[in-house]
């Protein structure tokens, strides 16, 4: 039973990066823009957070730096894809390469050192004492609380209970219809490109300031790509995204615990697990929608919008 508590607790911590980066991506994709560069933005967010932690007085300042840097990457992506309407797939891949490379370069001087500032666990009084459940769910850092317990509700509310949410979804389904009724396609897409960058930046910070404090070039280890997959698995719904994030966090945490306890499974297999399952789940998600022509994906995903055209 202790092991299970442990697995869940670690799963939640490990999944935080996916919750943040995935939520930003989910919103952006709902507006019809696909950013494949998450991995790169997370990396640069993680590196800049550790660098900031060298001089900052509080982990929140380091987090702020990661947010700004992530948002900056979002601005770059916005300029190329929303303003200049370049191919979103290629722009995203470029962002991934640039971000990953830049992060390795910037983080060079602090590679391998533990981060001087970290986000520590803050047990929630009362709830954290519940046997088993308490330590699993209510003994985490503030980023986790916000990402899992607050953000999904905000996003759900935004999407389903606000005028802005209607406009946002309309853009992702049919930008020219949205445009014709007076929705600012460029404005909203730009905003979410930047917000998506900022949230991926936070995702990076959860890695380097909380989950595995410190910077190493492989700290991100494909979680940006997994976040992209989880968005599909979640069928673009915030609640399901959280479930997906915990699920993948669990796979990561199982491999941690297995190594820790010396279970007799080759490490490579364990490390492979999250990616294999991602592949499997995507196939399942796609198969389930096969045959239905009306899919759940935003209809205009990855299609640039030009007004003076039919």
């Amino acid at each position: 039973m202790d092991t299970l508590t442990n697995v869940i607790s670690t799963a939640i911590d490990a999944g935080a990066v996916i919750v943040f980066a995935g939520m930003g991506e989910l919103l952006l994709e709902r507006t019809g823009v696909l950013n494949l560069g998450l991995e790169g933005i997370i990396a640069i967010g993680a590196a800049s957070a550790v660098l900031a932690a060298q001089w900052a007085s509080s982990p929140f300042i380091a987090l702020g730096v990661a947010i700004l840097v992530g948002a900056g990457m979002g601005v770059v992506f916005m300029l190329t894809t929303v303003v200049f309407r370049a191919n979103q797939v290629l722009s995203g891949l470029a962002l991934f390469l640039v971000g990953t490379g830049l992060a390795a370069h910037l983080g060079g001087p602090v590679t391998g050192n533990p981060s001087p500032l970290t986000f520590e666990s803050v047990p929630i009084p009362g709830l954290a004492e519940i046997p088993y459940l308490g330590p699993a769910l209510f003994d985490h850092d503030v980023l986790v609380y916000f990402g899992y317990f607050i953000m999904p509700f905000i996003v759900w509310f935004l999407l389903n209970r606000t005028r802005h949410g209607i406009n946002l979804r309309a853009i992702g389904e049919d930008p020219s219809a949205a445009d014709a009724t007076g929705v600012s396609v460029m404005g909203i897409r730009s905003f979410y490109a930047i917000l998506g960058g900022a949230l991926a930046g936070i995702g990076g910070a959860t890695l380097s300031l909380a989950f595995t404090p410190g910077w190493t070039p492989n700290v991100v280890a494909g979680r940006g790509w997994i976040a992209l997959a989880v968005v599909i698995f979640a069928m673009w719904r915030p609640g399901r995204l959280v479930v997906g994030a915990v699920l993948f966090g669990a796979l990561i945490s199982v491999s941690f615990i297995a190594q820790d306890r010396g279970w007799n499974i080759p490490g490579q297999v364990l490390n492979m697990l999250p990616y294999l399952i991602t592949l499997a789940l995507i196939v399942v998600a796609v198969l389930r929608n096969l045959g239905k022509r009306a899919t759940v994906a935003p209809a205009a995903l990855a299609v640039p919008f030009f007004r003076e055209e039919r």
Binding site: R163, N167, R169, A170, E173, A177, A180, R307, E309
Partner: protein
């Protein structure tokens, strides 16, 4: 329109409006005045500039030069939002609705006056109130893709009105409507005009224009030809102003009895599901023989789309049999099969690649043949020649054959598709709404093409919502209702009333 309205200053005044696309002059110093409370029809051949003019008024395109005054003030709309704020709303040829979202959401989308934050019931109530106000009943909770085209159009109109449109522009609104829906729309337009709103109405159907328009403006090749009161207009005069030629357009008629031969299409007990997984076809039986035109009448959404797609091999049924005969072999259809032509319901979806050039689009059915390509290369010389042939035969007005086909006017796109498909249909032609969006002249030409195909021995299956078209063209006629084929009439014994009843689902009218 009353006498007093005649003396009012114009509500909308357009002066010297010019718009060019590259070198093409789409509008050439166009003048137009609209009075408050009038229904003003815009007429013109395909490519005359009707949609372009409307798009400028609605803030979608910007004019190169010229003035637009509304209510005595000069306006410069930079976006549709601007135009809406300025009291101009447009219902497009392609509806600007998000199909997967609800009526209520579509009404509230992009509107400052919709609540910033709401509950589900709140949203529905507000929408219901708006719908009530304009008396255009439609369920606010329904998703757009569950609604008939007529209902979808209502949503568009309600949305435009709710945003305070004083000028309502409707671009070919009746092209997609059944006769009853058209009548309902006209009631609505008359009511709106009586309430002081101004309406621009675009249509290729001259009798519609004559029945509803207070005044009619005719455009030809981007130029303003005339504005005449509806009461003084006649079909001949309008046609003459549109085309510039004196000769009246002759109606296409049957050229002799059918010399029907062997079956080219056989459909047996066909069942199929719609894209949304609901039963769409429930045991359809149908035969088309060479040398005859078989018409399928019926309100759209009764399985025609699914049937058509299965016949040309781009959709699968759940059970039953479909066989086509080409070059002496009888087999299930394969997409793009030689000898079979397909004029689809939605040209942009199933016939044209919008971003590809007109030349490329003109040869998509033929480029694999030996004349147009070797195993590894395209023969650009012959390809251009063949494309020119299609363009010439279909009288497709195109300035630059290498520019994207999406830039052609709606009617010219349709001409291109119809001609291209007819040219390859040596054995069988499936024509779904083949004259959709075509002007009077082009409609006559496409109908003639179908007749020619039949006379040359091809089998033609004509699916159309336009009952007049089906009655005029068919050797045999059936009705589709609820995924079934009802009745069976041969030329000479077409009974309009019984066909009408069958279209409404009154099976007993099938008789014997």
């Amino acid at each position: 329109m009353s006498e007093s309205a005649d003396r009012q200053p114009p509500f909308v005044l357009v002066e010297g409006l010019t718009k060019t696309f590259d070198q093409l002059v789409a509008l050439d110093h166009v003048n137009l005045d609209l009075k408050e409370g009038e229904i003003h029809a815009l007429l013109g051949e395909n490519g005359a500039g009707k949609t372009t003019l409307s798009n400028i008024l609605a803030g979608i395109y910007r004019a190169d030069s010229g003035d637009v005054m509304i209510g005595g003030e000069l306006v410069h709309f930079r976006s549709p939002a601007d135009a809406i704020a300025g009291g101009v709303g447009m219902v497009h040829q392609h509806f600007q609705l998000v199909p997967s979202m609800t009526v209520a959401e579509n009404l509230m989308m992009g509107w400052e006056q919709s609540p910033r934050v709401f509950s589900m019931s709140d949203l529905k109530e507000r929408s219901a109130a708006i719908i009530e106000e304009y008396d255009l009943p439609v369920d606010p909770g329904a998703r757009i893709f569950d609604l008939s085209v007529g209902k979808q159009q209502r949503v568009e109109i309600v949305r435009t009105l709710a945003r305070g449109a004083q000028l309502l522009i409707l671009d070919e609104p009746t092209a997609v409507l059944t006769p009853e829906e058209t009548e309902e729309l006209f009631e609505v337009l008359r009511r709106l005009a009586a309430g002081g709103r101004t309406v621009i109405f675009i249509s290729h159907k001259l009798n519609e224009v004559l029945s509803i328009a207070d005044r009619i403006t005719i455009l030809r090749s981007g130029k303003h030809m005339a504005t005449i009161p509806g009461a003084n207009a006649t079909v001949d005069r309008l046609a003459q102003l549109m085309t510039g030629s004196e000769t009246p357009i002759e109606a296409v008629s049957q050229t002799g009895p059918a010399k029907a031969g062997e079956a080219v299409l056989t459909v047996r007990d066909l069942h199929a599901l719609s894209s949304r997984g609901l039963p769409a076809l429930r045991g359809v039986d149908l035969t088309v023989r060479s040398g005859e035109i078989v018409g399928i009448a019926g309100v759209s959404g009764n399985g025609q789309t699914e049937l058509a797609e299965i016949i040309v091999g781009i959709r699968a049924g759940t059970s039953g049999q479909v066989l086509v005969t080409t070059e002496g072999t009888t087999q299930p259809p394969t997409p793009g099969q030689i000898g079979i032509g397909h004029i689809p319901e939605d040209r942009m979806e199933h016939a044209l690649v919008g971003v590809a050039s007109t030349t490329r689009n003109a040869v998509t059915r033929r480029y694999r043949t030996a004349e147009l390509s070797t195993k590894t290369r395209l023969r650009w010389g012959p390809i251009r020649e063949y494309a020119q042939e299609v363009i010439k035969d279909g009288r497709v007005q195109v300035r630059e054959v290498d520019a994207p086909v999406a830039q052609l006017s709606g009617g010219n796109q349709q001409r291109l598709v119809a001609t291209r498909e007819a040219k390859v249909a040596d054995e069988f032609l499936l024509a779904v709404h083949p004259t959709f969006g075509l002007d009077v002249q082009a409609t006559a030409e496409v109908r003639q093409t179908l007749q020619d195909k039949r006379n040359a021995g091809a089998g033609v299956l004509l699916i159309s919502e336009d009952l007049d078209e089906v009655l005029a063209m068919s050797d045999r006629l059936v009705v589709m209702y609820g995924g079934e084929v009802l009745g069976g009439f041969t030329r000479g014994e077409f009974d309009r009333d019984r066909i009408g009843l069958l279209m409404g689902g009154h099976r007993e009218a099938a008789g014997e």
